[in-house]
Amino acid sequence: MDTPMPVFMQATVVPATFSPPASFQEAYRDHAQTVARWARQLGGSDMDVEDVVQEVFLVVSRRLSSFRGDARFTSWLFEITRKIVANHRRRQRWRFWRAGNEASLASAPSDLPDPAAELERRRAIARFYRALDQLPGKYRTVLVLYEIEGLSTQAIADLRELKLSTVKVQLARARVRFLKHYQELMKRGKP
């Protein structure tokens, strides 16, 4: 089995373009993988990426004709993805609350050579995302894009159509808040 490349070693350049794709097929072909990556990183490993991609491109298929190119197409696509991921997370929390903790993927058995280490890794990631969940949406997004996706603040500003200074302020606040929540979770020893 191939060992996946660590996140921080991967190229994280998001192609930014103002011009909308000529057709839905082209949009899907060029951006489906990007959307899948955003969905995974914004929503965590529990996210049903396939569902998110499908919903995002359903919205794109409906609204592509009304996209006038005022914003970057990637920014537009990212906003759609972000909202749909947020909806999914909300639904996930609801399901999680109804089903108890049983449905958590973090506790699912692993087929890797070292299941204990894999389980510990999943729990750590789940705890990381739990701390992320306690942040407001804008802080969560900017922190994910900077720390996990590895975008620069300028790239985040371009992607989200924000001022660079805004992104920097949001990032600083997001880091402080995240560390506070994360430390609390670590103290409580919750996965």
């Binding site: 899948a36 359903l58 994360y182």
Partner: protein, 405 residues
Amino acid sequence: MNDLLPDPPRWKERFDQTHVAEREAGRVIRVMRAPEPLPAAQLVRIAARIRVERPRRRTFWLAATAALLLGGATVASAAHLNVLPGWLTRIVRLQPAGPVPHKHASLGRPTRMPAAEAAAVANAPTVPKANALPAAIPSTPEQPAGTIGDGDSMGSDLAPLPSRKVVRKAIEVVPVENAPRMPARDARPSPPIPSSLEPAPAVTMPSEAQRVRGAQVAWLEKPAQPDPASPARMVEDPRPALEAGSAQGAAKVLSEAIHALRVEHSPGTALFLLDRHGTQLGKSAFAHEALLLRVEAMLALGRKGEVLRLLDGAALTDVAASRSLLVTRGELRASANRCADALGDFNLVLARSKQADRQALLGRSVCRKKLGDSAGAQTDIERYRREFATDPRLSDLERQAGVLK
């Protein structure tokens, strides 16, 4: 300033953090695997699902829109035919678009009142207070409940009426040749209205108006403004303004206003007509009738404060002609805790007529009681018993009067 600062080092790129949470966060991010690209087969499957889902969603939205339109049309039709349930009527008819008939002939069932009138009826008190004077004057055949001078605008003491039903009685349109001439213009400025007046229950329709003729009422300097919520405000009356002194034109306007008020049950429209032709009506022979109608319309809209201001500014010198207005003003003054002023009105009405006015008598008894004249109040009650022995609800009054003894 922030633009000049470099990006902070990422947690995953540092291994020497002193902050435990920061170090742990960096470690977790490092062990996170990059999201694997979706396999081509999965992409194809998603694309196929999108192709199926798109027309399905379009169908759903088309069906939802069609259902919404159909429902709206159904509700509109039901509202037009007046077959909506009460709770929906309140939602649909928050602001009626125009005069609404109270009866629908084709269905033969009573319709609901417009909002303002319904509110007036709903606010009308029903059960008299036990410790009050027998102010709950029941309706008599010659004077239905809920009319000007009917006592239900007297606040807690005079207001209680046993019945919530508002009985409407149309008044005759005064023939032009019998109409009195224009009275003197001697209005005085209106005093401020106490806030306690505003929540008092509404009085709706006059019934003594048809008995009042030959008005000597001064026309008010400033006519009351039409109700902002009234739909009539938006209606542009295409008719030309009346010529000054045109008695026939004034009669026509009054006739239309009466029709709007009594037949269409739209006091807003009536008030709009009176406001529109206010100056001309004030100069015509029907100034008193116009004032009566204006008071009735405003009471139907629940604008008691304005009515009191209007009547306070009116010189009701001809007691015979202005009897109902005097009683109304007395009741409104009493409900505004101006019993001394109200007593003057009631005294005026009772002194000038041989037969006691029912409302004035009761109003005076209440005001006397409020002003500490218990003996006078008891005298009025006794007189009421004597003169209105045929009152079908006299027994109720007797029971209430017992409280005084």
